[in-house]
């Protein structure tokens, strides 16, 4: 039982990261119906930004400042990607946008390799990692911070989407773009805002990923990006709450598979799950079955 709870905590740790990244997929999909396959690369760049802010300055920035700065620059990167690669294709067939997204993903990977080189950067955890004991369990402070900060940011996001005017506009655009334009909403700005928020959260996921697993390299976003995408589909793509639930579920399933079956089975089970979901409930856990209106 104790072992099970320890593994559950490990699962929550990975799950938090997947959830943060999954939110980016789901928000962008919700608003422009595009699966942004370059999102894993934004996560990777976020980690590199944090490394640069933390270790290349002559003075030590506080941890929170490093995080916020990296999230800010990742947000700008997200907006830039949308403006350069996706904006012109909004009216184009979906497949064109999808191909562009895959191209963008590869472009960013190789750009990172050009800038930073292929040798992994070693990310020292920016916080104290000595485990603390809660009720007989040794839990890493980093794990607590990962889970805590992720949940905090997710609550902030939910408040933003449901309680503020831009949040309301965002929901309006995702429901019906044309009607939103008629209501005087600046759709371009809202799309940029969506990319900014999604990218910032993705970067946060990347920073935690790099700190927990101690390395940053140009292809680090690929696999967690895919897993987060599955989490978004799992939870119901387009739904923020769904992405969070999906993220935590995938994280826990993955850890439990590693702990009780074998790490060999992780990808089989996770990707198999994607197929099962698409076959039996394509809208995901929290997704609604929307009927096309005539």
């Amino acid at each position: 039982m104790e072992l099970f709870i320890s593994q559950l905590i490990n699962g929550l740790n990975t799950g938090s990261i997947y959830a943060l990244v999954a939110i980016g997929y789901t928000m962008v999909y919700g608003i422009i119906k595009l699966i942004n396959f370059a999102h894993g690369e934004i996560m990777m760049f976020g980690a590199y930004f944090a490394y640069l802010f933390a270790f290349s300055l002559s003075f030590q920035l506080p941890f929170l400042v490093v995080i916020v700065l990296s999230m800010f620059f990742a947000a700008i990167l997200g907006i830039l990607i949308e403006r350069v690669a996706y904006k012109k294709l909004r009216k184009a067939p979906r497949i064109s946008a999808l191909i562009t997204a895959i191209g963008m993903s590869l472009f960013l990977q190789h750009l990172a390799q050009l800038i930073f080189g292929a040798t992994p950067y070693v990310m020292k955890p920016l916080v104290d990692t000595t485990p603390i004991t809660i009720l007989n369990f040794d839990i890493s402070r980093l794990t607590l911070l990962t889970i805590g900060l992720s949940i905090l940011f997710m609550i902030l996001l939910t408040l933003f989407v449901y309680k503020t005017k831009p949040g309301k506009a965002m929901r309006a655009v995702s429901q019906d773009k044309e009607a939103a334009i008629l209501m005087g909403i600046n759709v371009d700005n809202i799309i940029s805002l969506t990319f900014a928020i999604g990218s910032a959260l993705g970067a946060l996921g990347g920073i935690f990923y790099a700190m927990t697993y101690s390395q940053i390299y140009p292809t680090m976003g690929v696999l967690p990006g895919l897993k987060a995408f599955i989490a978004a589909v799992f939870g119901g793509i387009g739904s923020i709450g769904g992405a969070m639930i999906g993220g935590y579920l995938i994280g826990i399933i993955e850890t439990m598979t590693k702990a009780y079956i074998s790490s060999k089975w992780v990808d089989v089970i996770v990707f198999g799950l994607l197929i099962v979901i698409l076959l039996f409930k394509p809208s995901g856990i929290l997704g609604k079955n929307r009927k096309e209106k005539v």
């Binding site: 320890s6 292929a118 040798t119 980093l142 697993y213």
Partner: protein, 375 residues
């Protein structure tokens, strides 16, 4: 006009092609290793070690009155790239012998071709057991995986009193698997217990495995893997509060550069120690550091020895013909290697000692030296 252009370009092209043809005023030794990418630290070490040896030998007059030319190509640690590099070395550079490939997987991919082409190979670092089997022209300067893995097991049992070990290895990597298997075989032979914990090359998250290990009652963890993985695993073990000694193989060499604090007090088997006081070792360390601005790792030392051993074989053979060279290599008795004396057994594997190193405050300390034949 078009025809003229075509003729001119054909002429120009053929001129450049003939320019590639080699004259025989140098001894050309090929090197294949990952010079870029995640594993570049290994390939660059081999290239640097080989080039340093060549420089010293050339300064002392070369071999058979010729200079040594080291030609290094990148394999990125990938077998296909390695075969491409090999083809280039054979066809374009017309090498006399090959120092490499650096990785076992790459060397295994090249081996079949090299046996056909009869090009003498002395790999400094490919430790997989099968590299030298059924290949009379393939030799190595390092000891094999099984020898290293079983030595690690003997060390764990006799020096650290380990009777129940967690064996954690990368199932996607022949090196990691080979060492783990040899370790477990030796534990079986001694009637000791162990459990295996596999991970994959794509894994970044090891917390589930480490939590299971923490929950079991193990005396130590045997972790034969490369620095990139070892560093990540030790960091996570540290954050999870896993408090067991880790034992590794030569893939750990260089761990102190980025992970000195999480690797502190742990042990690994290696080919030599930078802190060894033997004069040839210290000369090598000083010269290498002066040349490249960093201390040599074991791979650099092995490549350095491999070039010297190859040159001694060329001198003994007094010829650059492949057959003469292979005969000279199999009869070689190379004494002043930095990594110990090298003589080859009937497979082409060296008979040499293993150094067990403990990482203490970021420095390699020689903890034990297991001589060849001590089993």
């Amino acid at each position: 006009m078009k025809k003229l252009l075509l003729i001119v370009s054909v002429v120009l092209l053929s001129a450049t092609l003939t320019a590639c043809g080699q004259t025989d005023d140098t001894v050309r030794l090929g090197v294949i290793g990952p010079l870029t990418g995640q594993y570049s630290m290994y390939g660059l070490a081999v290239e640097n070690g080989a080039k340093l040896a060549a420089k010293e030998i050339n300064a002392a007059g070369g071999v058979l009155d010729k200079d040594i030319d080291i030609i290094a190509y990148d394999s990125k640690g990938d077998s296909t790239e390695g075969v491409n590099a090999y083809n280039r070395l054979r066809d374009q550079d017309e090498i006399h012998a090959l120092i490499g490939g650096t990785f076992s997987s790459v060397t295994l991919a090249i081996k079949g071709l090299a046996v056909q082409d009869n090009i003498p190979i002395l790999t400094p670092t490919a430790t997989n057991d099968t590299v030298t089997l059924d290949a009379p022209n393939v030799f190595r300067a390092c000891y094999s995986d099984s020898y290293q893995g079983s030595t690690a097991a003997i060390f764990a049992n006799t020096e650290l009193n380990v009777t129940n070990a967690a064996v954690m290895y990368n199932r996607d990597d022949a090196y990691s698997q080979g060492l783990a298997q040899a370790f477990m075989d030796e534990f079986d032979a001694r009637g000791l217990s162990y459990d295996r914990f596999e991970f994959g090359a794509q894994d970044d998250d090891y917390s589930a495995l480490l939590t299971n290990i923490k929950d079991g009652s193990y005396d130590a963890v045997f972790l034969p893997a490369y620095v990139a993985e070892v560093g990540a695993i030790l960091t996570q073990a540290d954050t999870l509060g896993l408090d067991l000694p880790f034992i590794g193989g030569d893939g750990w060499d260089g761990i102190e550069a980025d992970y000195a604090d999480v690797a502190n007090g742990f042990y690994f088997a290696n080919h030599y120690s930078k802190t060894d006081e033997a004069s040839n070792v210290q000369d090598f360390v000083v010269n290498y550091t002066a040349e490249y601005g960093e201390a040599p790792n074991a791979l650099a030392a092995l490549a350095y020895d491999a070039v010297y051993a190859m040159v001694e074989a060329i001198e003994n053979a007094d010829s650059l013909e492949a057959d003469d060279l292979v005969t000279a290599l199999s009869n070689l008795n190379f004494l002043d290697g930095v990594t110990g004396p090298i003589t080859f057994d009937e497979n082409g594997d060296p008979i040499k000692s293993i150094t067990i190193i403990q990482v203490v405050d970021g420095v390699h300390e020689v903890f034990a030296k297991v001589e060849a034949g001590d089993e």
